[in-house]
Amino acid sequence: MTHSSFLQDELKISPQEENNKVLLKLEGALSATTVPYFRQTVQPYLDRSVGEIVLDFSGVTKIVSRGVGAAIDIAVQVKKVGGKLRVVNIGKFSRSLYIQGVHLVAEVPELEGFEP
């Protein structure tokens, strides 16, 4: 595998913090390339035991299983410190998130008719 700067996936994360909650608005791809940045951006909120982390997927253009795995990991970590992860505006990625079990560790919009 090689990298190409002009073809590489990009992810922008904009945080909005209020009291004991942070809303992280994701724009771009949650892919193998951007997962390290995703984890690194969320880590300070985990370190500070923020009560609720909300991931807004409305600007997400692509996800891969590694990215979903990172979200699961964050959900587990935030739960361990008594908080919760909520994922909102999941749109077309609903099935992919459910298949990987995100709904088992985080609050996600209900998906009708999902059979594991």
Partner: protein
């Protein structure tokens, strides 16, 4: 023309992010074939996973091939790489109980996800490369009596 097979092929170098190009082509093809939007997304997601795996585990500059085989009722996608291969039967199913306790440190569940998204999945792998063949049907084939 009728139910004849339409074959298309795209070759991509193992560069991170370039899978978007064949994925966009397949998205257009699946929509044109009449797959509903949620099935198109399933196909897009499955192909993305297969291409990403082929690219990530590629150990050379050898190209990855994406082959599209379209019939009136089916879309078969093949992703062929020249990587070191793996043993598909040894890929464990995700243990959700354990994951809910420990989280996910590395990798994802690419194969599990692909299997759940398409109607049929076949994987042929050796130390000379891997072929991931994903089939999706517009309607389930009728059973012969």
């Amino acid at each position: 023309m009728g139910d004849s097979l339409v074959r298309m092929q795209m070759t991509i170098p193992p560069i991170e992010g370039i899978e978007d190009v064949p994925v966009a082509a397949v998205e257009a093809l699946a929509a044109k074939m009449g797959f509903k939007p949620d099935r198109v997304q399933d196909i897009v997601q499955a192909l993305t996973e297969a291409c990403v795996n082929a690219i990530i585990y590629s150990e050379s500059d050898a190209d990855v091939e994406v082959i599209m085989l379209a019939r009136q009722n089916s879309l078969i996608l093949e992703v062929r790489d020249q990587g070191v291969g793996f043993e598909p039967d040894e890929v464990p199913a995700p243990n959700f109980e354990l994951i809910s306790e420990l989280g996910v440190k590395n990798g994802g569940f690419g194969i599990h996800m692909i299997k759940a998204l398409v109607d049929q999945l076949e994987i042929e792998s050796s130390n000379k490369g891997t072929v991931v063949r994903m089939s999706t049907f517009l309607s389930k084939p009728e059973k012969q009596s």
